[in-house]
Assembly symmetry: C2
């Protein structure tokens, strides 16, 4: 189905690897891109990470992740903003296509979802003042509604498109099939987003049953998502970027040999994406 | 906050009880209503269930549940329809306000969500031909998107409102805060539904963390849902029915004494609904 030479590996898929192991694995398995988590980049050092990735020739489909804009106090929100600005600088340093943002959920002790969403929008606006001059696109990643409380109160592509409408230039979307596959409006909202806004395309699969809300994602082809259909919608509006694979799988893929995981990712892109 | 004399107990909240125990418990604890699952009604016998409930004076806020319209074969869909017709008759027999419908998810082996949704709409249409003359309102209950694959591919109130628009008279909605609280469009879609369509209002709470996708619902007040706000939206369009409490809680409430559970339900309606 899809061209597996367009694979990008999110480092969370091979949990336990350091950045060098991820980069070397991606090269060994013929991946075109990588999307490292910040802790790996920080552990290797920003400069060394940038050098390592540049030398590998890998495209950086995103730096994972910043955001988490919500907090119970102004000081907490300021700390989040400060950290997010550092994340922008890190993303610039490693030449990432975008900085992936998980919005943050309800602040500790709060049940006010509208307020959380207002905090997210304020935080995005403030971060854009730093990201625009740095030339770093921000990618809002709407998360599945089962994470609305504790991870991200941006839960549909429609809601993320509304945010983009209001925030203007410099902000777009990360479309992850795991979070969005169920949405009756998905095709329409992908069309609304268009090529310009879709900064990243993430794939994995939804397992039945799903045994854990966070760490039981499936390898493409092992679940129920019609990934080729969603890919056709995304590529139908002109997206021509890589396919980033991000699988949190405590019970399965995280327990396996990393070369087996990477080889499987490539073959499943051919057969199930 | 809310008037606990308007409590209705969904029998799944006191797992392990038979219908008589549920009815007697509801009377003992001053509930105004009950919503039994079909297996309890069938086990007691339809006639005896009807008599028992009528004698108790309890209002039946719904019969739980029918639906499950999707199947891999026409024969499977016909079997579902036959069973759903029996459910309509049972609901009539026990004097239920509505028959609660969980739509069904992807048929075994299918990844075609659009097809599943078409099957659901077809099934609803066919069932309406039986339910309308019987005078039994059908209540579509949109389920949380985390159940889109295996339980219900109707996942937002907007989608359910669209179905109601197309299906016409005799079908409405069950609004359950657990399934819908995260939706940025919830308030607007409750307004769109209006008093006439809202056939039932279900409450429980979303726990953080949620340890199991199906059986870790919280007692009102123990989670993060702003239930009074959602109740104000529902009552703001004129809903004046009971508050049905449905809590699947394998790790907590199902392990407790049923009188403790029922007493807690009533007090939490006062304090957290």
């Amino acid at each position: 189905m899809a061209d597996s030479s367009k694979a990008s590996l999110n480092s969370a898929t091979v949990e336990g690897c350091d950045l060098r192991q991820c980069v070397e694995g991606c090269v060994r398995h013929g991946f075109a891109g990588i999307s490292p988590w910040r802790d790996l980049v920080q552990a290797a050092g920003i400069g060394e990470s940038a050098r390592m990735i540049r030398d590998s020739g890998l495209e950086v489909t995103g730096l994972c992740r910043a955001g988490m804009f919500t907090a119970p106090t102004p000081a907490g929100r300021q700390a989040a903003l400060d950290d997010n600005r550092r994340a922008v600088d890190e993303a610039v340093a490693i030449g990432a296509n975008c900085l992936v943002l998980v919005a943050g959920g309800l602040p500790e002790g709060s049940k006010d979802l509208a307020d959380a969403r207002a905090q997210i929008e304020d935080g995005l606006g403030a971060l854009l003042d730093h990201a625009r001059p740095a030339g770093m696109p921000l990618a809002i990643e709407p998360l599945h509604p089962m994470y609305a409380a504790d991870r991200a109160s941006v839960n549909t592509l429609g809601q993320a498109n509304d945010l983009c409408d209001r925030l203007g230039d410099g902000v777009g979307l990360a479309v992850d099939v795991y979070h969005l596959w169920w949405d009756p409006e998905l095709e329409a909202q992908i069309r609304r987003a268009g090529k310009e806004r879709i900064l990243a395309f993430h794939v994995c699969d939804w397992l039945v049953p799903t045994r854990h809300l966070l760490t039981d994602r499936g390898m493409m082809g092992d679940g129920v998502i019609d990934i080729p259909k969603i890919r056709s919608w995304v590529e139908g509006v002109g997206y021509d970027g890589l396919y980033e694979v991000e699988i949190f799988s405590e019970l399965d893929w995280w327990t396996r040999d990393r070369d087996e995981v990477m080889a499987t990712v490539r073959s499943r892109i051919e057969s199930a994406v």
